[in-house]
Amino acid sequence: MDDLYREVIIEHYKNPSYRGKLDPHDISFADNNPLCGDHIQIDLRIGADGVVTDARFDGHGCAISQASADLLIESIIGKSLEDVKKLNKESVLELLGIELGPVRLKCALLSLKVLKAGAYGLHEAGDELVE
C-alpha cells in the first residue's frame, strides 16, 4: 500500500512538472471522472511532422490521478501522435510502477482517456480508449 503512494507519486502530485495550459495549442480536451469528480484537461502542440512538441495538463483530483497525468505528459513529449494513440492501460501502470484496484484504476487512467480522445479528435472520451 505504501507502494501505492510511492515517493515518486507523492512528488509528482505535489510538484508536477507539466501542470498548466498551452495557449495557443493544436489539441485540447477535458473530461471528468463522474465517480469522484476528478477533472483533467490536456493541451498539446503538434509539430509539422506529427510529433508532440509540447504538452500540459490541468485539473484537480487525487494524488493518483494528478501524478499519473504528470508522468504521462512527461512521457509523450517528443513522441508522434500515432504513438500516443497506441498507449494503453499498461503504459500508464508502467509509468506509475504500481498495481491498482478497479476503482483507483479509473483515477489513474483518466488522463490517458483524455489524451487519447484528444489525439483521435473525439467528442467524448469513452472507457474503451484505455482498455
Binding site: M1, D2, L4, Y5, I10, K14, L35, C36, G37, D38, H39, H60, G61, C62, A63, I64, S65, R104, C107
Partner: protein
C-alpha cells in the same frame, strides 16, 4: 438506557472481520449502507430453508406461510413509523424507487406546466433527478430552499418560496452529507398552510431517529431497509390513505390487479395496487426482522448513543490541523462527519485509511450540487451507527494523522 456495545457488536458478524493479517475492520460507512445483524441474516436464511413460496393466491401451506410472513413484516414496519394502517406501507426497491413512484404516479396525474415543486440544496440525487426528468417532460418549475453556511435550511427564504403556491415540497429529513436534521414537522406544516403536499426523504432519518409519520403529518415518507440493518432491494413508500387511493398505479403487472380482461384491467386495493410482480419476499421478511431488532434496542437509545459518538468524533476531528468538518454542530445533526483535509484529496484519505481497515466514503456522496455550493469537489465521510464506538473514532483520528504524515 444506554446500549451495551459489547453485546451489540456480537450481533454483527462482519464487525469481527480481519481484512488482512492483523488489520480488523473499522466500519464507518453506515450512511451508505448499514451492516446486518444475525437476526436479519437468519430470518432470510430461514425463509429460504423452510418457507419459500410465492405470496398471495397460493393455497398450499408454504404459500400461506410466506404470505403471512411478508404481510406480517409490513405490519411491523407500519408500526415502526406509526402509520395508521399497514395498507399505507407500499413495498418498493428503495428510497429512490419510492420517490420515483410519487413522481410517476401522483405528480404525472396532478402536475402541469408551470406548477412549482420545492426541493432543497441539500438533496441526494434521488430527490433531484426524478424532478429534473418531470421538468423536462412536463415543464414543471423547480426551486430550492437554500442551505446556510452552517449547513441548515434557510426557512425564511422557504417562507417566501411558499408565496408562489407550490404543489409539492420534497425534502430530506436528514442530510447524508452534512448530517443536518431538518425540522420536518415545521416544513410540512408550512407547506400545508400554503396548500402544498409534502414528501419526506427519510433514507437517513428512519435508521437513526424515532419517526412518527402521523405526528409529522407527512403526505409521503420514503425510506430504505438497507440503511437500517435490513437487506438491500427493499424499501417503503408510506402515503396518506386518501392520496394513495386517488393515485393511478405505478408499474403494471401481476398482483397489482383485481381483474384483467384482454383489453382492460381494474387495479387492486392498497397496498397491492403499487406492487406489481413478484416482490422481494425474503427481503421484506428481513426488513421486518430489522425493525424488530431496532425496536428492541429502542430508537431513542440508538439516537442517544449516536449523538454521543458524533459529539466525540466532531471534537476529535476538529482538533486535527487542516481538517474542516462540514455541517452544523452535534446537537443539530445525526451521525455523519464529512470533512476535508487540507492539501489532500478525499480519495487519497479514504484509500490510506483503508490500509488500516477503516472504511470511510470519499466523493460527492450523490449530492453534487451541495458540494458545489460549498465550493469543494468532494469530501471524506465517516458515519456512525448503533454499533460504533469511541475507540473506533480514535482509530479514525490516528489514521488521519498517518495520512498527513504520508503527504508531509
Amino acid at each position: 438506557m444506554t446500549l451495551n456495545l459489547t453485546e451489540i457488536r456480537k450481533d454483527f458478524p462482519i464487525l469481527d472481520r480481519e481484512l488482512r493479517a492483523g488489520v480488523w475492520l473499522t466500519y464507518l460507512d453506515s450512511t451508505a449502507t448499514s451492516q446486518k445483524p444475525l437476526a436479519v441474516i437468519q430470518a432470510m436464511d430461514d425463509f429460504y430453508r423452510k418457507f419459500n413460496a410465492n405470496i398471495h393466491r397460493g393455497v398450499h401451506t408454504l404459500a400461506e406461510e410466506s404470505t403471512a410472513m411478508y404481510e406480517g413484516a409490513r405490519e411491523r414496519i407500519a408500526k415502526f413509523i406509526n402509520a395508521a394502517s399497514a395498507r399505507q406501507v407500499i413495498y418498493t426497491r428503495n428510497t429512490t424507487e419510492s420517490i420515483n413512484l410519487v413522481a410517476y404516479s401522483w405528480a404525472r396525474a396532478n402536475l402541469k406546466q408551470g406548477d412549482l415543486v420545492i426541493l432543497t440544496e441539500m438533496e441526494h440525487h434521488s430527490n433531484l433527478v426524478p424532478w429534473h426528468m418531470l421538468q423536462a417532460e412536463r415543464g414543471i418549475e423547480l426551486d430550492f430552499i437554500p442551505v446556510t453556511e452552517e449547513g441548515l435550511l434557510d426557512l425564511e427564504i422557504y417562507k417566501t418560496l411558499l408565496d408562489r403556491r407550490p404543489k409539492l415540497v420534497s425534502f430530506t429529513h436528514m442530510s447524508n452529507v452534512l448530517g443536518t436534521i431538518n425540522p420536518a414537522a415545521e416544513i410540512i406544516r408550512l407547506a400545508h398552510e400554503a396548500g402544498a403536499l409534502a414528501l419526506v426523504d427519510g433514507a437517513q432519518s428512519a435508521p437513526h431517529l424515532q419517526v412518527d409519520v402521523q405526528a409529522l403529518d407527512a403526505d409521503f415518507f420514503a425510506f430504505s431497509a438497507h440503511k437500517m440493518c435490513g437487506p438491500t432491494g427493499i424499501g417503503v413508500l408510506y402515503g396518506k390513505a386518501a392520496l394513495l387511493e386517488s393515485m393511478p398505479p405505478f408499474l403494471g403487472g401481476g398482483d397489482m390487479i383485481k381483474e384483467v380482461k384482454l383489453r382492460s384491467f381494474r387495479a387492486n386495493t392498497l397496498p397491492h395496487k403499487f406492487e406489481a410482480g413478484t416482490p422481494a419476499i425474503a427481503e421484506a421478511i428481513g426488513f421486518g426482522a430489522a425493525v424488530d431488532y431496532l425496536t428492541n434496542l429502542g430508537m431513542d437509545n440508538i439516537a442517544a448513543h449516536e449523538h454521543e459518538i458524533t459529539e466525540y468524533a466532531l471534537e476529535r476531528l476538529e482538533e486535527i490541523p487542516g481538517v474542516k468538518v462540514f455541517g452544523p454542530s452535534a446537537d443539530k445533526k445525526g451521525g455523519v462527519a464529512s470533512f476535508t483535509l487540507e492539501g489532500i484529496h478525499p480519495h487519497d484519505v479514504a484509500q490510506i485509511l483503508d490500509q488500516s481497515g477503516i472504511a470511510v466514503r470519499a466523493g460527492h456522496h450523490c449530492a453534487q450540487p451541495l458540494h458545489e455550493k460549498f465550493g469543494i469537489p468532494a469530501t471524506s465521510r465517516a458515519s456512525f451507527y448503533l454499533y460504533n464506538t469511541k475507540d473506533e473514532v480514535d482509530l479514525l483520528v490516528n489514521g488521519i494523522y498517518k495520512v498527513k504524515e504520508m503527504f508531509s
